[in-house]
Symmetry: C2
């Protein structure tokens, strides 16, 4: 443990915090500081081991921390400015909470003596933090900040969003005492009765579905699940939005539970037993009139092997699947996906041809950050046999995660290509992530699917039945779902933030652009123009 700058009798609270984070293995900090964080910035100035990455908006910092943790298998820190800075980062912390990846938020606050005066930036930080955090604490003295930080790191290592509120005077005062790491809380244990019951169900001959999530969507968990399927005839599905799905040639393949309710209902139809490994009981993403919210079929028995927990590798869900596989499928081997790529298509871009280009060209070892929303519906099929890769998804459903998560993933994996497959509407929530990608020289290739609409909402207008209840001729409703007046120019936006881009309208041009972008170092953006939706 390198503590040279912090173990002096005059260490500030900020220095002790920094030392404790580093001792706990947190060495990356996505930052958007303000006045109350200046002493933390001053402490950072002398500690090269902590990589501080500036973002232009807090939602980029928190989304990057999530993407980083999914790939690095350990949490990063964020540095946020008071309640409003935390609020700006909250949507992507919501996604991180659902991902179970863990983040250590350091939120600067007014000095303890200043807070009661209700200065303009005063707000209820705990109320805001509580909505997304598994662990929240305001540290009250430099002597305690080290121990508080160690606890925050431990909570984050267990997959929780941990928020440490750091008053400015605690940060700047001497007397800081770094603390050694604290072991994370023990992961939840498997339920032995559920494992026995699941084993009995799987060998009963009755129709079984095995739904995997959390850490079990990695190669080891999928291999165990596939062994069970091969031996018992059970069907394996992954949760709809996995934190990190390992897939491609050599990995046991898995379909994901559908986002569209009718699809999901069809996938689960007829199941008599539903075995949950690292996944929650499946529910529809939204409620719809006259459709089920609880997706478990009538008469289906649910066996939850282990509570939903953090999603870092080596968790209980994988272990219990392996145990179950040894019980019901001894000697059965998993069936890895064969290598297979679609041919490169040609002609004007469509959702299908754009997906096929990705399938044809996805590089070995890619990290795919998927916020393609409706434009990505064809992607899973055409990439199933691509070289082995990781697929990161929108775990919490709060859009604006793609560009930030790709930024963090690229920092976690400097030797792997990161492809960010990004819907146009969602891109605009956190577009300034491109600037951080340029500043840090990250190898991120962003494909923006440009269909000039919140196309998913066009679909949801119908699914919710609202399309049948339009109070007018539909024009005013469509104006709230369409993005074509004016049309966004993502190449210009990228250029404004130092990222080279090109706009493509054919499959051939998309292929050329992706090859160039992947071959050249640094970030690139490809605006893939899709046919406009029907009015």
């Amino acid at each position: 443990m390198s503590r040279a700058p912090v173990h002096t009798p005059t260490a500030s609270g900020a220095q002790a915090l920094l030392g404790s984070l580093l001792d706990g293995g947190v060495d990356t900090c996505f930052a958007n500081p303000g006045t109350s964080e200046m002493h933390f910035v001053a402490a950072l100035d002398g500690v090269a081991r902590m990589r501080a990455v500036l973002t232009l908006f807090e939602g980029v910092a928190t989304g990057a921390a999530d993407g980083y943790a999914r790939m690095a298998e350990r949490p990063a820190a964020t540095l946020l400015h008071l309640g409003p800075g935390l609020a700006n980062g909250l949507a992507n912390l919501h996604n991180a909470r659902r991902a179970g990846t863990g983040v250590v938020n350091v939120v600067g606050d007014h000095a303890t003596t200043h807070a009661p005066l209700d200065a303009p930036l005063q707000s209820d930080i705990h109320a805001i933090a509580g909505a997304v955090s598994g662990w929240v604490r305001t540290t009250t003295s430099p002597a305690e900040v080290g121990a508080d930080a160690a606890e925050a790191v431990a909570a984050a290592k267990a997959g929780q969003v941990a928020t440490l509120v750091l008053p400015a005077d605690v940060s700047w005062s001497p007397g800081g005492v770094p603390a050694p790491p604290v072991p994370p809380p023990a992961p939840p244990a498997a339920d032995p009765d559920a494992v026995r019951a699941a084993a009995a169900a799987l060998t009963s001959g009755e129709p079984c579905v095995l739904l995997v999530g959390g850490d079990a969507t990695r190669a080891a968990g999928l291999a165990a699940a596939d062994r069970i399927a091969a031996a018992t005839g059970a069907r394996v599905l992954a949760e709809t939005f996995p934190t990190r799905l390992e897939r491609g040639a050599g990995v046991a393949p898995v379909d994901r539970l559908g986002y569209v309710v009718d699809v999901a209902v069809g996938q689960l139809a007829g199941a008599r037993h539903l075995v949950l490994a690292g996944a929650r009981r499946p529910v529809s993403f939204f409620a719809y009139p006259d459709k089920a919210s609880d997706l478990v079929p009538a008469g289906c028995e649910v066996h939850a092997l282990v509570p939903k927990e953090g999603a870092f590798a080596g968790g209980t869900a994988t272990a219990v699947l392996e145990e179950l596989a040894d019980l019901v499928a001894p000697g059965t081997a998993p069936r890895p996906a064969p290598a297979a790529r679609p041919p490169l298509p040609s002609g004007p871009l469509t959702v299908q041809s754009a997906a096929a280009v990705v399938g044809a060209l996805l590089p070995e070892g890619a990290v795919v950050v998927d916020e393609s929303v409706s434009s990505g519906l064809g992607l899973p099929a055409v990439t199933a046999g691509a070289p082995r890769h990781d697929w990161l998804t929108l775990t919490g459903g709060s859009i604006g995660y793609g560009l930030p998560a790709a930024t963090g993933a690229a920092i976690a994996c400097p030797d792997r290509p990161v492809w960010c497959l990004q819907a146009d509407g969602s891109a605009m929530y956190t577009i300034s992530a491109l600037w951080t990608q340029a500043r840090e020289g990250l190898d991120v290739t962003t494909v923006v699917y440009h269909n000039s609409a919140y196309a998913i909402l066009r679909m949801e207008l119908a699914q919710t039945g609202a399309a049948a209840h339009l109070a007018g001729d539909g024009a005013r409703a469509r104006a709230l779902l369409d993005l074509d007046r004016p049309d966004l120019d993502f190449v210009a936006l990228a250029a404004g933030m130092g990222v080279p881009g090109e706009r493509v309208t054919t499959a051939e041009a998309l292929a050329s652009a992706l090859r160039r972008a992947t071959a050249e170092p640094g970030p690139h953006l490809v605006e893939a123009v899709l046919p406009p939706l029907a009015p």
Copy 2:
């Protein structure tokens, strides 16, 4: 009251809500809807009286609602998607709360039957809303949504952020009953003892400062305050960040209390009496080691005439100032600012010359939205004698308010030119407001002060004493405050969102650009390149 589409027996909850908003005088809705809001969108489709304005990010919607209310003198609605959508809008709701302008947030939620299932987008909306709202309620049935909306509108008219959570099934179910408007709560009454004590103090010959805020920073309140000053020798100051400061030729001029602590301390030094009219007891914006947080000088008596309240015109603070003026300054007239403009400067742009260009050209009746931060320090002096205008400021200190507030102000005041004076770093928080300005064809002229740094934080690094405690050579700290790698190109960013722009480096070019932008309809952006800060 026009209720044609909503007073049918089959009105949905959404239709009843819409009718009640309109009946309450809320006819503008800044929207970023999602699936749970589709039935509200369907209801909007038939109601041309409600202007629905699409934003690409919720922080634009909430900031626009604030800017709209400051100029329209009545609240707008927002339409936000679940907890994360509200969270994205929270920072500008924080500013609205501090402004006292009132907003009606309609936050869609999962159906009441769906919420207990903890679907991915489920979160604690009340916890998030509570941090900024004076009024929060989840409406539980279509029969109640109208009455709940009427109460929300009343709270917003009293200057509160009012958040109405609308579950999807309440929105889509029949049985909606619109409700007539509810009178807003009575404004706070003046404290007659404080008024008498203030009158005695002002006529005592002892040094007095009169600090005005809230509704008293409008022409009527300032005239009354100036009469008091003229008759008694008291010094008048406006709060540091007023909601809406009327100023320019013909309006009694007022200095604002300084943001920099030492400046504010100097302004208040020697005061024996501090009379507060619509302003809070003054505190420093941030705490600093070895500096006072409470800015009231030792031995100074504080007379709070009226509690801080909403900032709509015609409030109690103005009335009580007029009463006080009639007591201590009968027959004394206010002293309006004379018309005066600086000459047009020439040569390379500096903070000073850029300010002078604004002073020389600010059009009659302009609405100035000021998020210029450090680049705007010279603006008040050179615009004091410009034609009469309104000056809107960053009331809550949460940056990213300028572009959205200008958007809302332009919708409230279609016949007035809106000039948005915008710092570069702050602009990036809510840059997509430019797209909404283009879509709506708003007459907004944005000047981006481009100094490629969070210059205010450079200053705060010194003010907080952190600059003296840099743990290294300063390079790593500066990297968190500087925006020059890569340099942002705001003309490209604006072009990407359909807003014409130009980049200027001289005073002459800034003047030409401002003239063109103001003469042509629709939004324009001028990137004013300032000298880089010293390293």
